[in-house]
């Protein structure tokens, strides 16, 4: 892909794709002042990686599909476990994927019964953290729409991680 808007700097940024930093300094300043990040710590790293990759595949983001969090691989997130078709998924992680799909498909249609079923496997803290992180992971839509994704999936760790 090539960027669809003129960038301040065409050189790849630290994660290997161009960055929109500098295009809109007032937005950069706002983002520096206000973080949309959510507190992290309740969700198991492997569950988080499973959900992050679910979103990556659903959006068709090559960059997100290429990255692996060290914390996840360190806790057992092998390529087999992270594969879309993995059959050994726990009920807990299946519930996490259902929550992810509700967010990505038709969030207004998540019913009372479905919510209670999710809580049979996920704690309230896990639900909130997963949804908050998922909301941030969908930033890949900005990257994709502006032509700032990779052309293909190439496995790599997140920058700065072992």
């Amino acid at each position: 892909m090539s960027p669809r808007i003129p960038l301040a700097d065409d050189a790849p940024g630290p994660i290997g794709v161009p960055t929109a930093a500098g295009v809109a300094p007032d937005l950069d300043a706002l983002r520096a002042r206000i973080s949309t990040s959510v507190p992290v710590g309740v969700v198991h790293p492997v569950t988080a990686e499973v959900v992050r990759l679910r979103n990556a595949r659903r959006q068709g983001c090559c960059l997100c599909q290429s990255m692996r969090y060290h914390a996840a691989t360190e806790h057992g997130a092998t390529e087999e476990v992270l594969a879309h078709e993995y059959v050994g998924r726990t009920d807990h992680d299946v519930a996490a994927i259902r929550l992810c799909d509700a967010f990505l498909d038709a969030p207004a249609e998540l019913g009372t019964d479905e919510r209670q079923e999710l809580l049979e496997h996920l704690s309230p803290g896990e639900v909130v953290e997963l949804v908050g992180r998922l909301a941030n992971w969908t930033y890949n839509k900005v990257m994709i729409s502006l032509g700032m994704d990779l052309d293909r999936v190439e496995l790599r760790p997140f920058p700065g991680e072992a």
């Binding site: 937005l27 309740v42 908050g132 502006l146």
Partner: protein, 173 residues
Amino acid sequence: LGTAVVNADASGTAPPTWREVSVLAATCLTGFLTMHREIWTVVDPYLADICRRRMAQLLGAPDDAELVAECALALELPIPTSAEITDWPHSECFDAAARAALAFAEQMVIDVGGVNQAMVNELLAHMNPAACYKLVYATWLFEAALRARLVLDLHVAPETLGLVVAANAGAQA
């Protein structure tokens, strides 16, 4: 905060309810809600708001679609009704810039992979690259925040998001 809830679950007390989720969410999503309220200061509020309203319609949130950005109201431009926004391809309310923005916003919600250079060029025909990037960022922010609020059943006051109830915005879609 979340850890405390997990521990409570393990203690054998009453099963958790979605009410607990919604209460936790109000704290956890503070950054998203604050950014939603502040983003209006850096974008074209009229264009960003009609995109937000169209996305709310597509995501099944008609009440959100009837709210209007306070910054957009301040422009004293005619506020499109919900029906006009639903029917934007045929409505005479919208100029070429608004149509380019609405087309982009719809595609972002439906399938981001369908956004192409031509759609971005349509935006760039009416705004500079900085305004284009900010509009794209805003559409992501609005969509992500609304999806999160809907899934978590988090209800917030409109002013928390920089929105207000406008008397003439809610004509039937």
